[in-house]
Symmetry: C2
Subunit: 427 residues, 2 copies
């Protein structure tokens, strides 16, 4: 595209969702889209990548301007990735040069000068590389990360949009299932295990601890990836709980592992980022308990249910997800590059927060674990400090509208942008 034409029109922007979706990532999308609409004097069109960065590579772009204001508002209460997400990591510029060149080719063809990338640690690494690429390949693009991950393992930001809602889901579910097993324990189920997400960091498992506000309330034990699994200590504590309370509820992170680093249940497959896919900690523990103590058990694996559960989202989480989306656009227009909005906590009681920003490089590929002082000395519970941190994040409800008994989630039109390139790109 000749420079003269670019000069005449306003530059366009690109937004993509990346990695595992959450129940509030679309609230961030709404924040980005509504902020771009508000600043239409400075940003032309906002294109979204169909299936994340894959949409950019294959020139499969969605014109967000074709969506009604009502549809964009409805994204705030709609889980999943409305434009599709992708588990697709770009390697170094040297190794994946063809892909970066393709990205620039597509950006150039559509006059895209802003790149909003909504994802977690791995995605921030990609965003950082796209920023560097722009400079190196002579097509500067303003790259802004938009934080998203249920795992809450991004550094710098106080918490991460997506986490508060899965935390609320897990805390509510633990309370409900805990009461269920308590009423069955006399003649039936004595042990209940809920396996939750959190490959490396135990934030989601920790959130299960919020369900218990009085002695004896579930969960009685939490298993964190940060604490080496000790079979004997665990079995002794299960027995103690059953003897004392009549039952035992365990919230176990999928990342629970031994001192040698062996995951309790390794499914043996790997995802696109090379991470081992987990699942099966709960049945492993259940069998262990059955063999040692003979207790009747039940277990649940929430899997996608926990991160998709917009019906029980945290209001704080929804608000923060929207706020970081909006802030991303404002940072871009303020001339920032290679940055990411973060949540800054001003106080815990009452909870007050604001949005700040950090260099993406400080976030990319880093993981924030649950600090040791958030975990009780015995390694099986959360401390008062953890509660102080976690509790505000699950505060408030933000129910979606319902129609005929089901949440009325929006489905976007997803109007395709006419392709300008003749070349194909196979992902």
């Amino acid at each position: 595209m000749p420079a003269s034409r670019r000069a005449k029109s306003k530059p366009n922007a690109f937004y993509a969702q990346s990695g595992g979706v959450t129940s509030v990532i679309n609230a961030s999308a709404a924040g980005v889209i509504e902020a771009c609409r508000k600043h239409r004097g400075r940003i032309g069109r906002l294109y979204a990548g169909r299936d994340g960065i894959v949409g950019a590579l294959t020139e499969d772009l969605v014109d967000t301007s074709k969506e009604s204001a009502a549809a964009i508002r409805a994204l705030r209460h709609t889980p999943s990735g409305a434009f599709g997400s992708a588990r697709y990591k770009l390697k170094d510029l040297e190794k994946d040069r063809a892909k970066y060149e393709r990205l620039i080719e597509v950006f150039q063809a559509h006059d895209i000068r802003y790149f909003f990338y909504n994802g977690g640690n791995d995605s921030m690494d990609t965003a950082q590389k796209v920023a560097e690429m722009g400079a190196k390949l002579g097509y500067p693009v303003t790259c802004i990360g938009v934080p998203k991950t249920v795992d809450n393992d991004l550094p710098v930001t106080d918490c991460c949009p997506g986490f508060g809602s899965v935390a609320k889901y897990v805390a509510v579910s633990t309370r409900e299932a805990g009461m269920d097993v308590a009423s069955m324990a006399r003649t039936s189920t004595k042990v209940f295990i809920l396996e939750v997400m959190g490959r490396h960091a135990g934030w989601i498992a920790a959130a299960g601890g919020l369900a218990s506000r009085r002695t004896g309330e579930a969960p009685h034990l939490i298993l964190f990836p940060e604490i080496a699994f000790d079979r004997e200590a665990f079995l002794a504590r299960v027995k103690e709980s059953v003897q004392r309370h009549g039952h035992c509820v365990v919230v176990a992170s999928e990342g629970t592992r031994t001192a040698e680093g062996r995951f309790l249940a390794d499914m043996g497959t790997r995802d696109a980022f090379g991470h081992v896919q987990l699942g099966g900690v709960a049945p492993t523990l259940a069998t262990m308990i059955k063999e040692a103590h003979g207790y009747k058990y039940h277990w649940a694996l929430a899997d996608y249910l926990q991160r998709a559960a917009r019906h029980i989202a945290s209001r704080v989480d929804v608000e923060q997800a929207y706020a970081v989306g909006k802030a991303a656009v404002e940072l871009a227009l303020a001339g920032k590059n290679a940055v990411m909005p973060v949540i800054v906590r001003k106080s815990s009681k009452p909870y007050r927060w604001t949005v700040g920003s950090t260099a993406i490089a400080r976030v990319a590929n880093q993981e924030k674990m649950v600090p040791r002082h958030y975990i009780t000395a015995d390694g099986f519970g959360i401390t008062a400090a953890a509660r102080r941190y976690l509790e505000p994040l699950i505060a408030g409800e933000a129910y979606p509208p319902y129609r005929d008994g089901l949440p009325d989630y929006v489905r976007l039109r997803l109007a395709r942008v006419r392709r300008k390139l003749k070349s194909e790109f196979v992902v």
Copy 2:
């Protein structure tokens, strides 16, 4: 106790929860308790069995009159069994005579003349036997069943309290997880399987079908216990769905079985009623799909989460659960015996219902399966007739109050009634 003393005071009543609990069984308890309070001119005290019928056998009774009106109101939004439930079946009068005699001994000691038993098929069998016992052993007790089961498999009644809420949970979760996998499918997960309860009857699995209102929406396949599992047909349909829609969502009943009657996943343990305990259909299917097609998968096992999920209960279900509790007391006071209130459907659109009654004998040990015309010809979906039946049952929300981000469920005082018998009874 001498007859003269009984004649002076009003007879007392006994209420017990039985079998697996639900998110609305306490609403039935509230119905029974509030109706007894309303009729305190005719019913003295209402005692509840601690841990169901076990509480009667061991003379472990709770005096419900010690609970505040606010606490009883709060039962309407509190899941689990507030007094504890039991999986404990009484055999025939001949085989279990000592237990029946003990029941009468306890009832006599506390002047209990009304027996309200809140449970499913097996529990109605017990209620029927207690009614017969009273006549045979010379201590007549008015026995009224209060229907409860997530499985919806009780005959005569149009639907069963407990089912509507688990149906709503499964439909909502299927919609949410289905949207999640749809947004991941391009580069990651292509198949998602949700395993749901329903040992013999596929009502809960059928409810998952409500999530889909447009072609291509999840679930794409439903597996019912009523339809013999056909491996080849199933695998072909999974492939077709992935090719057509990019992904495939399966809702599978735990009771899915082959034409020979073999459960897909038999855990090999049995509960107190002699039923085989199931779990593991989802991983079995996932492995099957992976081996045949190589698709990346995720699966979830909701287990207790589905039946405890009061946070997403159906308003219709809560109302019906309360109504049958209240009706049970009214039937008893109208002089009925060995009956159970039932839900009578007057019309589906608009949904109108009322409470009728039936003889317990017509319900005990009977199971109502999903009729063939509710299942599509191919055996993998639900028909318009099924939708017409199911949709009203998940209508309306009935959110519990929240405190600090969590549902504010009530915990009763559970004041113990002073024991009158010297003899112990070991369950």
